[in-house]
Every structure is written in structure tokens, then in C-alpha cells.
């Protein structure tokens, strides 16, 4: 049986103008990788239709360790306090290659 190791999956939904900022955040905290999907949606800041192609959402997924998660959440919290619209949720996942999700070696 393949052994599985627990990690955390952090998901962030926000306007795509935030993409560069989030990528910077991941670089800053040495996150080993991330994945971005195009999305549309509706929320408290109205609809993000992406219909015009000028205005859409992104869904960002990062698999991190528990300790990295805390660091990222704190950074996200600061952004929320500044007024940015971020829909954030965390889930438990299991992976087969835990070494992949350690900090980027320098």
C-alpha cells in the first residue's frame, strides 16, 4: 500500500489583478510551488464575470506544511485587513511525496 503523508491545502479565490501579489507572497516565503486556475464568481464585492476578459477571478492552490500554512495565513490576514477581497479556505490533504512540499532549498 502506498503511504500517504498529511499536508495542508490552502485555497484562495480573488480577483486576477491580485495574481502578481500572491506570487510574490509565495516567493517571499519560499513556497515550493503553487497552482492557479481561472474562475468566475459572485460574492460580497459583486459579480466577477470574466465576461469582458478584463475582470475575472483566480483560484490559487498551494500545498504546504502546517507551519508554512500559518505564515501564509498571517500574510493573508494582513491583506484582508487592508481591504483586499480574498476568499480563503484550508483543507486537509494527503500526499505521496512529502519532501516536495518542504521549503524551496536555496
Amino acid at each position: 500500500m502506498i503511504k500517504l503523508y498529511p499536508e495542508k491545502l490552502l485555497s484562495i479565490i480573488t480577483n486576477d489583478s491580485m495574481q502578481e501579489r500572491l506570487e510574490c507572497m509565495f516567493k517571499k516565503y519560499d513556497i515550493s510551488g503553487f497552482t492557479i486556475l481561472q474562475a468566475t464568481g459572485e460574492g460580497s464585492s459583486g459579480m466577477e464575470s470574466a465576461m469582458s476578459g478584463f475582470d475575472g477571478n483566480i483560484l490559487v492552490k498551494v500545498i504546504v506544511t502546517e507551519s508554512q500554512l500559518q505564515i501564509l495565513l498571517e500574510s493573508v490576514e494582513r491583506k484582508l485587513q487592508k481591504g483586499y477581497h480574498l476568499t480563503v479556505f484550508v483543507s486537509d490533504v494527503e500526499v505521496i511525496t512529502p519532501e516536495k512540499f518542504k521549503n524551496r532549498s536555496k
Partner: protein
């Protein structure tokens, strides 16, 4: 009379078709990226054309146009901001974000105006094209400064006045750092936004390319131009109509701002174009359109980053759902008539 024919222009009719498609709840959907591609094409085509002509332009007039574009770009948002704050319907940060849109410009409106002038057979100078490029960004900077000022006074009100009252520009600029990242980053972003790069880049290429190279490009940038513009406005009609529904949400006073502000900007623009820059009726009409139009491509994402506290529903509904349709459908002929009247008056 000739002005009424605006409503029978294919480009305007396609915009209306887009609006109608949404209103009757058609399931028609344009792929999200189409408007982006079409707008890149349109900016490229018009830039190449303009650059090609500008190579033979008068440098003094060009410089003068740029200066007045900057003046318009810096002044209009301040006036808009003061008007909005006076309505007491929005908080200062929303007012800053909204007014930045009105200092900037809408290429879609500008191109519709060109289609309109071509159709009624009115010629125009190429200088307004440079002004289009120049006016994209300054209003973003003004928006940032106004927001910083607003934040400063909000903070001051909350924490009780610190020492001296008047927030000078330097502290303001520093204060601007907090939400949107470094002020210099925001500045760089304002001046390197995609539309500006495509437009200015294409103008330079149009100006320096070999004539034989340009010759091969003309079918692409000329012949299919009007068709692509129709498709673009069709798409944007649907996008705008999605926002028209939010009209009630923003309240009638704000909605009124979305009509009065372009009229005001149009008058200022017409005056600058006709009386100050001395353009022909066609050219001055284009400057009026620059003054009247509100950005819905370059400014919204800039405001999301720089003034995250502002409500995007407000500025998107106003610029995209109210001012854009107003300008395309009734504004352009009004500005044209206005300039005609000015010209007739001497």
C-alpha cells in the same frame, strides 16, 4: 440631422444588439478572452496608423497636445472627486476610485467616435490619438493620491488629530504605500499598463517601420477594422448590460453622476480641442470624447490593487454600465454638435 445617423452606424447598432441580447436574457455568450484580443487588435491597428501619420506631424502641436492631455488627466479626476464627495453618497475612498476612471479614457468610445466621424465624412487630426495614449495613466496616479489623502483624513478622524493638520503631498505619497504596495510600484504599474504599451508601441512601430513593411500591414489594419470594432462593441454591449442592472444598487444620484460627469468632461475637452489646441471640428470632437469617456479596462484593476477598500461595484457600474453606453449611443453626436456650435460661433 447628420448627427442622428449615429444611431444607424453598424458599430453603434451592434453595441445596442449586445445590450438587447442581455436584456432579453439570451444565452449568447462571448468567450471571456475575445474582448481582450479584439481590443489588442484595435489598439494595434489604430496605433500603427496613427504612428505612420505622426511621423510627418508637427512636433510643437504634438507637444502641446501631450501637455493638455496631461492637464486633462490630472484635473478631471480632482473635479470628479470633489463633486462625488459633495453628494455624500459615497465615502472618500470610493470617490477617489470612481473619479480616477473619469480622468482616464475609453478606447472603445474613442474608436466609436472615429467610426462616427468617418461615417459622416468629417476629417480629424492624428494628435488626439497621442492624447488617448497619454491620458490612460495620469488619472490612476491622481486616484492614488486622493485615496492616500482620504485614508489619512479617515485615520486622523479616528485616532484624533495628531500634530499638524494639513497632510502634505509627501506624507500622502508615503501613506499611499500601505495597501497597494510601494507607491513607486503603483506608479510603474500605472504607466506600463497593457493598453498603453500596445498603443504607444504600435505608434512607434508605425512611425519607424519601412514603408514597404507598413504597406503589407494595411489590409490587416484597415479593411477589417470596422468589422472587428463591431464585434468588439457587440461584446461590450453585453458586458455593459450586465452592469446596467446594478444601476439601482448605486442609487440615482450616483447614476446621474455617470451622465453629468461625461457631459462636463466633454465640454472641457471640446473647449481644449477647439479653442486651445485649435483642432478642426473632427479633432476637437475627439478631444471632447477623451474628456467625456471613462476607463473600464486600465483603471479598474489598478484601483482594485491601489484602493482595495473601494467597492468595485460602484466604479464598474458607473463607467461600464452607465457612462460607456451613454457616450456610445448619445454622447458622441452631442459632443460633435457642441464643437460644431463652437466652430460656428467662431
Amino acid at each position: 440631422m447628420s448627427n442622428l445617423s449615429n444611431l444607424l452606424l453598424p458599430a453603434v447598432l451592434f453595441f445596442a444588439l449586445g445590450v438587447i441580447a442581455r436584456l432579453i436574457k439570451s444565452d449568447l455568450k462571448f468567450p471571456p478572452d475575445l474582448a481582450k484580443v479584439l481590443s489588442i487588435y484595435l489598439l494595434m491597428a489604430i496605433g500603427l496608423h496613427g504612428g505612420y501619420e505622426l511621423a510627418k506631424a508637427d512636433l510643437v502641436i504634438a507637444m502641446n497636445s501631450i501637455m493638455w492631455a496631461l492637464i486633462l488627466g490630472f484635473t478631471l479626476p480632482i473635479i470628479g472627486y470633489l463633486a462625488l464627495v459633495m453628494t455624500r453618497k459615497v465615502n472618500p475612498l470610493d470617490a477617489a476610485a470612481i473619479s480616477a476612471h473619469y480622468g482616464s479614457v475609453s478606447a472603445g468610445t474613442f474608436l466609436t467616435a472615429i467610426a462616427y466621424l468617418d461615417n459622416v465624412g468629417v476629417t480629424y487630426e492624428t494628435y488626439p490619438l497621442i492624447m488617448l495614449a497619454v491620458m490612460e495613466s495620469p488619472a490612476i496616479v491622481v486616484g492614488l493620491i486622493l485615496a492616500a489623502k482620504a485614508r489619512h483624513s479617515i485615520a486622523a478622524r479616528e485616532k484624533a488629530p495628531i500634530s499638524g493638520g494639513g497632510a502634505d503631498l509627501t506624507t500622502t505619497a508615503v501613506a499611499a504605500d500601505s495597501p497597494g504596495g510601494k507607491f513607486t510600484d503603483l506608479l510603474r504599474e500605472a504607466f506600463t499598463n497593457g493598453s498603453v504599451v500596445v498603443l504607444i508601441g504600435s505608434m512607434v512601430i508605425g512611425a519607424i517601420s519601412t514603408p514597404s513593411g507598413m504597406q503589407q500591414l494595411f489590409p490587416f489594419i484597415d479593411e477589417i477594422f470596422m468589422g472587428v470594432l463591431c464585434l468588439f462593441l457587440f461584446d461590450m454591449g453585453m458586458v455593459a448590460a450586465r452592469r446596467i442592472g446594478d444601476f439601482r444598487q448605486v442609487g440615482w444620484l450616483l447614476a446621474l453622476f455617470g451622465i453629468v460627469m461625461p457631459l462636463f468632461g466633454g465640454v472641457i475637452g471640446a473647449y481644449v480641442g477647439h479653442s486651445i489646441l485649435g483642432f478642426s471640428v473632427g479633432g476637437a470632437t475627439l478631444v471632447a470624447v477623451l474628456g467625456a469617456s471613462a476607463s473600464y479596462i486600465a483603471v479598474p484593476p489598478a484601483m482594485r490593487l491601489a484602493i482595495p477598500e473601494a467597492n468595485p461595484s460602484f466604479y464598474l457600474t458607473l463607467s461600464l454600465g452607465i457612462t460607456f453606453p451613454f457616450n456610445v449611443i448619445v454622447g458622441i453626436p452631442i459632443y460633435h454638435s457642441l464643437v460644431q456650435a463652437m466652430a460656428a460661433a467662431g
